[in-house]
Symmetry: none
């Protein structure tokens, strides 16, 4: 099943699809109660919608594989995440509207804390404020590397983007972040011979940054990962025949949507504002990717009650989303983030597809266990888009 086949089957229609991705949606039972976040939350609108929808579970990437946000969303957008791989540096750069050019090498940076021996004591520098991050990023712009332009752009809290621009660069580098405490950052190593010069430039950048940041504790060092160059992905609007818009408050998800060629709409930071943006633009597009972040944030923090509240806040917006009258509405997530795991996980994520041709299947609760009994079964994430197109009557018959 690939994008080329789908493209040959796409037919025009006036139907509208909304794909709501609740980040980190799935969870696991609280051992004390035996109920997951979704099972604990009061979700009258989602439960009622599930009862009127076809339900199932989405498995991202592969069995047992915990997806990052990039592969998680690429799958939801119809791209097999094992076939289309995109580095974190690229995603972060796109997410801050950085005008990447073909050939640029981008890396995600973290300011971090190191001790007197240079060993990492906090990989996120105590999550310094975004303003301090911007100040330090400006300081790093003083670094000059031979033959390349260097860009250092703050993202949020301790995170920034480093971009090298010049000819003959390669993103095939190992990460400097050992993802461990008590050990120093690693040098970037070339993973292919062509990346040798780039590795040297990166290591020189890090060495100079160490000096410039020496007095900036807790942000007295940096870590780089996710080196990559812009990939060539089939464009979403052409692949699926959809004028597509993304509504996401958080940079990463805007970047990902832009990468596949969606138009990114200006929106506010609150989810209610995202829903208002959807309502305001409903006539202008065939497809909306609507992103909700708070479920993941709480899950990653291990905040079970916070995730329950985030789910309830999402639920409260469902009527406003339905009021925009999408022909097909899918609600799912890019991965699970169980609070008891304090991070992403490999578990399949609940899915509902609501539309005139998605028969209700008796699932009365939008939960992991409820959706496991749904008629859609457990499907790979990149099977969702063909299903949504079909439900929107936008795919013709295969074979005469």
């Amino acid at each position: 099943m690939d994008l080329e086949l789908i493209r040959t089957l796409v037919v025009p229609n006036t139907t509208r699809i909304v794909l709501l991705s609740a980040d980190g949606l799935g969870g696991l039972p609280d051992p004390a109660t035996g109920r997951s976040e979704l099972e604990t939350a009061r979700l009258p609108h989602l439960d009622e919608l599930a009862a009127r929808s076809a339900c199932g579970l989405i498995r991202h990437v592969g069995p047992g594989i915990t997806p990052g946000s990039g592969p998680g969303h690429l799958g939801l957008f119809g791209y097999d995440p094992l076939r289309y791989q995109v580095g974190r540096g690229i995603l972060e750069a796109l997410g801050i509207d950085f005008p990447l050019q073909p050939g640029d090498v981008a890396a995600r940076g973290n300011f971090c804390t190191v001790d007197g021996e240079g060993r990492i004591t906090d990989r996120r520098a105590g999550r310094i404020g975004t303003e301090l991050c911007a100040t330090l990023a400006r300081r790093l712009r003083a670094i000059r590397l031979p033959g390349v332009e260097t860009f250092v752009e703050p993202v949020k809290e301790h995170r920034f983007v480093l971009v090298l621009r010049g000819s003959g660069l390669s993103g095939r580098l190992s990460e400097t972040d050992p993802q461990l405490l008590g050990t120093p950052p690693r040098p970037a190593e070339p993973l292919v011979p062509e990346a040798e010069r780039t590795a040297g430039l990166i290591n020189r950048f890090v060495a100079e940054a160490r000096v410039l940041l020496a007095d900036a504790a807790p942000a007295n060092m940096l870590l780089l990962r996710g080196f990559d160059q812009l990939p060539t992905l089939p464009a979403f609007p052409e692949a699926f025949g959809l004028r597509a818009a993304a509504i996401a408050a958080y940079p990463m998800y805007r970047g990902l949507a832009r990468l596949v060629g969606m138009e990114v709409l200006k929106t506010g930071a609150a989810f209610a504002e995202e829903v208002q943006t959807l309502a305001a633009h409903r006539e202008g597009y065939d497809f909306f990717f609507l992103h909700y972040k708070d479920t993941d944030t709480a899950g990653e923090d291990g905040d079970f009650a916070g995730k329950v509240r985030a789910l309830e806040a999402l639920d409260a917006q469902i009527p406003a989303i339905l009021a925009t009258r999408p022909d097909v509405l899918a609600v799912t997530g890019d991965h699970a983030s169980p609070a008891i795991l304090k991070g992403h996980s490999w578990h399949p994520v609940p899915l509902l597809i609501h539309g005139p041709y998605a028969a209700p299947d008796g699932v009365g609760a939008f939960t992991e266990r409820g959706c496991a009994g749904g008629s859609l079964g457990v499907i790979p994430s990149h099977h969702l888009m063909p299903l949504l197109l079909a439900n929107a009557l936008r795919l013709t018959k295969f074979g005469a």
Copy 2:
């Protein structure tokens, strides 16, 4: 999804995984009662464990495909059995600790009974005793073939292993066993031109054996199948980052475990002794493959009541297995062996995964129909290992 990807995601942990393979686990309803072997047996421990586990079904090899024990177990060990194929001769040789060398050609042999016209009347020679098998095997060692060494090793009852050692041999031969009564054994045919000489040697061996066995009825002839040479498989301990041990009383399964690089532990013939071996070695390994044979033996004999008893005997050992406190315990089988089919079958096999991150899904009975309603769905056998690694927190995130 392949082993290379998994290998890149493996991270160290101290968690311990136990994979219990009940051979031929799945069955079919007795037409008289409408209940399968699993549904007929009293399985208080397995049912209770299923209620505290994530459940599903494992589909081996492919839809409608009945797996042999080799592909059945290779799948459970994480190897796509369509990609990694191993001949029965190799497995039998490994199972008797025969020191196979690269290039050796091994075949599984059966002593059989032929009538005066050389037509097969019993493919297993009335399952002669293992001692007689050894005597006859010694007799066959008198056969000398030009340019190769020949080994004839008894296995159990009517079964033996034939190994040819020399340069330029090939295992790409057709089998001499027609798997039919009333017809004579077939000559071995080369399946590729390079196998022509080996086929000639095998046919000469069979011709000389016919003479040597003429007076040995019911074991007055032999059948050879599963010709193969040692395959090159990625080693299980490296692929999955697990110190792995196999506990199996029956040679075939020890051989298979050894083939993928597991350490084979010395154990007794009874399953209770296997469980004791597990308990005794629990600190020494990260992964245990624990094999239970009796379910398959009864199923293959068409002994419905015997299979029910074998299941109940297995159930009685579950508390002792749980007492070894595995972090993740999977219970499944390498294929179904419904008593009404008197052999292996293509039906998906019940699976449960028990561990802190495998949420119970309301399946209250460890049966074919119970597990069909589980949250894991129907998964290919080689997806099990990634799931077990994930549940043991031994896989990191894919993508940022």
